[in-house]
Amino acid sequence: MKKNTQRKIFDFFVKKGFNDFIGVPDSTFSEFIRHGLKKNKIIITTREEEAIGVATGISLARNFSLVFMQNAGFANTLSTIASLVQLYQIPIIFLIGWRGYLKNDAPEHLKIGKIQPDLLKIIGLPSKILSQKNWKNSCVWALKKIQKNQPCALIVKREFYD
């Protein structure tokens, strides 16, 4: 995704009242994070589950929060999503990178990348893939979801290979 679009997505959420973006970095949307760090609105945690915990606390104090992670990290979080986020209906937007769907990606990403859509479906986390064109609609959709206390995910495809 273009750097400019990543910044726009970040600014969109800030405009909607988000002050806290918490997670484990992903090079897929590194501009989103760089931009957020500059604005002092990013908390980097040691693991993805930890990020969800912090976001949950922030949400309990009536503030929006977004949790970002790689898809390898998403696989770490399944139990936390089920036994915390979904059980208590904590309104969190997840921003998840997606690599491994390209056949020539690094071997450690292939398995999780392949099963990512199924993982999202099985765990019951509604999601939309962000694109250059539709990102705003998807972000509006996510915002509506969490206003109804429904956690959801936005997926950023990794379109480059390094």
Binding site: E49, T56, G57, L60, A61, Q89
Partner: protein
């Protein structure tokens, strides 16, 4: 002293300030001793009490915010100590009931019989206290009124066979009443 007794003494010093309690016997003890809306009982998500408590503390700066954690629980999420220490919430009081075991799952040993959480927390610039007796707990609460957090209290307790009842409030209700309690 056993955990439930230590918790009873500590609860006498906490009014309606928020408490995030770790899953397992810690939440069950808290529920049985003094149920109130400002308790957030975790019933799943092992290890995350300190992280949830951090989030609450960051957005609730005018109150003292408590976490009731266990040794097994904090060992599962040791990384959270580095995040807490780097964000330095002044109003964060992290209480660890340390019985050197996973009591909720049958009393299996944890590493705290061999290593000291106290030293880890100290190296991260937490203000750390360790207590064993009723008097020491009372002294701790006298001292901390003038201390800026993050504060950690390690309460050394014995294993016990007393099992408190399960938290029988539906999770969504636990959440909603906790959110409402923060308004006050």
């Amino acid at each position: 002293m056993i955990r439930k007794e230590a918790m009873r003494l500590i609860l006498a010093k906490i009014n309606s300030e928020p408490i995030v309690s770790a899953n397992g016997f810690i939440s069950r003890d808290l529920f049985e001793l003094k149920d109130k809306p400002s308790n957030f009982y975790m019933i799943g998500s092992m290890g995350l009490a300190s992280s949830i408590g951090l989030g609450v503390a960051l957005k609730n700066p005018k109150k003292r915010n408590f976490v009731f954690d266990g040794d097994g629980s904090i060992l599962m999420n040791l990384g959270s100590l580095t995040t807490i220490a780097s964000l330095k919430p002044k109003n964060f009081i992290h209480i660890i009931f340390d019985n050197a075991s996973h009591e909720s799952t049958g009393g299996q040993p944890t590493a705290t019989s061999k290593i000291r959480i106290k030293n880890i927390a100290k190296s991260l610039n937490y203000k750390v206290f360790e207590v064993k007796t009723k008097n020491e707990i009372e002294n701790f609460f006298k001292k901390i009124s003038s201390i800026i957090g993050p504060i950690m209290l390690i309460v050394n307790v014995q294993k016990s066979t007393i099992v408190s009842k399960r938290v029988d409030i539906p999770p969504i209700k636990i959440k909603n009443r906790f959110i409402d309690s923060l308004k006050n």
